[in-house]
């Protein structure tokens, strides 16, 4: 699959099975179990949310679940930390606007 390192002098990547999920209703493929953020970036999607006050694009910063810069809407839930949340088949992922929708 495009966007993933295939040849590496030191590392060998063991990946889960290919699954389909949705970003802004568009179908994309990713590997099950990898964080959602990894699947999005492999697909070239780097803007994960829109800031609350000035509508500025936001991406991840720490990738290890510490900074909360990567919060997105997943299956209707706001504030899902996509650098940690594993990808599952059929997930519906959306850019979060500000603090996200009320539930």
């Amino acid at each position: 699959m495009k966007g993933y390192i295939t040849e590496h002098p030191i590392l060998e990547f063991k990946r889960g099975k290919k699954v389909k999920f949705y970003f802004e209703d568009k179908e994309i493929e990713g590997y099950e179990g990898l964080p959602i953020a990894a699947a999005l970036h492999a697909a070239g999607i780097r803007v994960l949310s829109i800031s609350e006050r000035y509508n500025r694009p936001r991406g991840f910063f720490c990738a290890v679940g510490k900074c909360s810069s990567c919060l997105m809407e997943v299956d209707g839930n706001s504030n899902v930390m996509v650098c940690m949340e594993p990808l599952r088949s059929g997930m519906r992922v959306r850019r979060q606007k500000g603090k996200g929708q009320k539930q």
């Binding site: 390192i5 970036h41 492999a42 780097r46 936001r58 720490c62 290890v64």
Partner: protein, 379 residues
């Protein structure tokens, strides 16, 4: 679907009730953080025969070792020549062998008045109580403020290292690295290994911050290191498309007319780390500001004991250093925690003496003078 996304708020009233009624076993020693420091602390304490649990927020143990493909050096006794990823495996295997209780994918979200931890795993919040806590929560990467520094593409250098070496995804094609400490030297080298271009490394000081070996490697690969340079702006509409750097003067002021635009789609911030002290603030531990150790750090004595006799710290949480020293501090914390609970014995004493010996070996290097003076300041 992961259950953590099922409920709106895992800290809802229903779950809080679970918290108070749940009967979770009591432990001798609870270790928060399963990186090099926490794992060594757990292994030592378990080998001394304490009842240990390790809590970690990742699916696998090893902390940041799991992305470190470079070989360790510096300490003869401690995994010299072994890659970080392999050290993670060695330590994790030992944890398995010793049958240490491990709670993965679990975040400690609070330290309560009755010395209980609130632990969040999936959508459940429950308490864990131990007689002694060893905090080995590590550190988080520092951010740098410049124009458009909030654009996607401005990433922590360690973050890109995680994406690349753990998940096999590189979030860009051409990188500019800010900071020439060890992370700022190692990550660009690993980017090259993954087939990504590195435009340059810039460093605000007049000398390279990290080890010469790492600097030489990246220079040999043809990556320029600009000293006395800083970044003033990221350019781009939705994501980083370029960066503007400038030379700085003696007082770190920007020198007009020296600005240069560098094309890149990633700006990697490698300017240091800050200890994750939040839980120790909650626990009422004394926190000192010691810039040499990374900013606000929990006070600790040479036994890694904080201002509270039942709370220990080790690793990057105690001072921003490196994995080899984190492991040694972890050993000391684990053994001292055991001695605090039970009694000093020959074995625990030997572990501490040996670890201290190796620590002072490593810290005798000129690179480590800063750490020593920071630790001295705190005492």
């Amino acid at each position: 679907m992961n259950s953590s996304t099922k409920n709106q708020d895992p800290r809802s009233q229903k779950n809080i009730q679970n918290f108070s009624s749940s009967k979770f076993p009591n432990f001798d020693i609870c270790i928060i953080g399963g990186g090099p420091a926490g794992l060594e602390a757990g292994i030592v304490a378990k080998e001394l025969d304490a009842n240990v649990i390790i809590i970690d927020d990742n699916p696998v143990l090893g902390g940041q070792l799991i992305k470190q493909t470079h070989k360790f050096f510096g300490s003869k006794a401690h995994y010299c020549g072994v890659r970080g990823i392999d050290i993670a495996k060695i330590l994790t295997d030992m944890v398995d062998e010793l049958k240490i209780d491990v709670l993965n994918n679990a975040t400690v979200v609070g330290y309560y008045d009755d010395d209980t931890l609130g632990v969040l795993k999936e959508d459940k919040l429950f308490p864990i109580k131990a007689k002694i806590y060893i905090f080995a929560a590590g550190a988080s990467e520092n951010m740098l403020v410049f124009e458009n520094s909030d654009l996607p593409g401005v990433y922590g250098a360690g973050a890109v290292q995680t994406m690349m070496n753990v998940y096999g995804v590189v979030p860009g094609k051409r990188a500019l690295v800010i900071g020439s400490g060890n992370i700022g030297l190692i990550v660009p080298y690993q980017l090259l290994q993954a087939g990504v271009e590195v435009a340059a490394i810039i460093e605000i000081l007049d000398k390279i911050g990290g080890y010469y070996v790492h600097a030489a490697k990246i220079k040999r690969a043809g990556v320029p290191i600009y000293l006395r340079h800083t970044i003033i702006q990221a350019k781009g509409k939705d994501c980083v498309e370029a960066a503007v750097i400038t030379q700085v003067g003696d007082k770190f002021e920007n020198l007009k007319g020296t600005e240069k635009t560098i094309e890149c789609d990633m700006i990697l911030i490698a300017i240091g780390l800050s200890p994750l002290c939040e839980l120790l603030y909650q626990a009422g531990c004394r926190i000192d500001y010691v810039p040499e150790l990374g900013g606000n750090v929990p006070y600790h004595n040479e036994n890694m004991m904080t201002s509270k006799s039942h709370i220990f710290v080790c690793g990057d949480l105690a001072c921003i250093e490196e994995a080899s020293t984190a492991m040694l501090e972890g050993k000391i914390a684990g053994a001292k925690a055991y001695e605090t609970l039970y009694k000093e014995n020959k074995k625990s004493n030997e572990i501490i003496v040996q670890a201290n010996k190796e620590l002072s070996n490593i810290r005798s290097s000129p690179f480590e003078q800063r750490i020593l003076s920071g630790k001295e300041k705190m005492r």
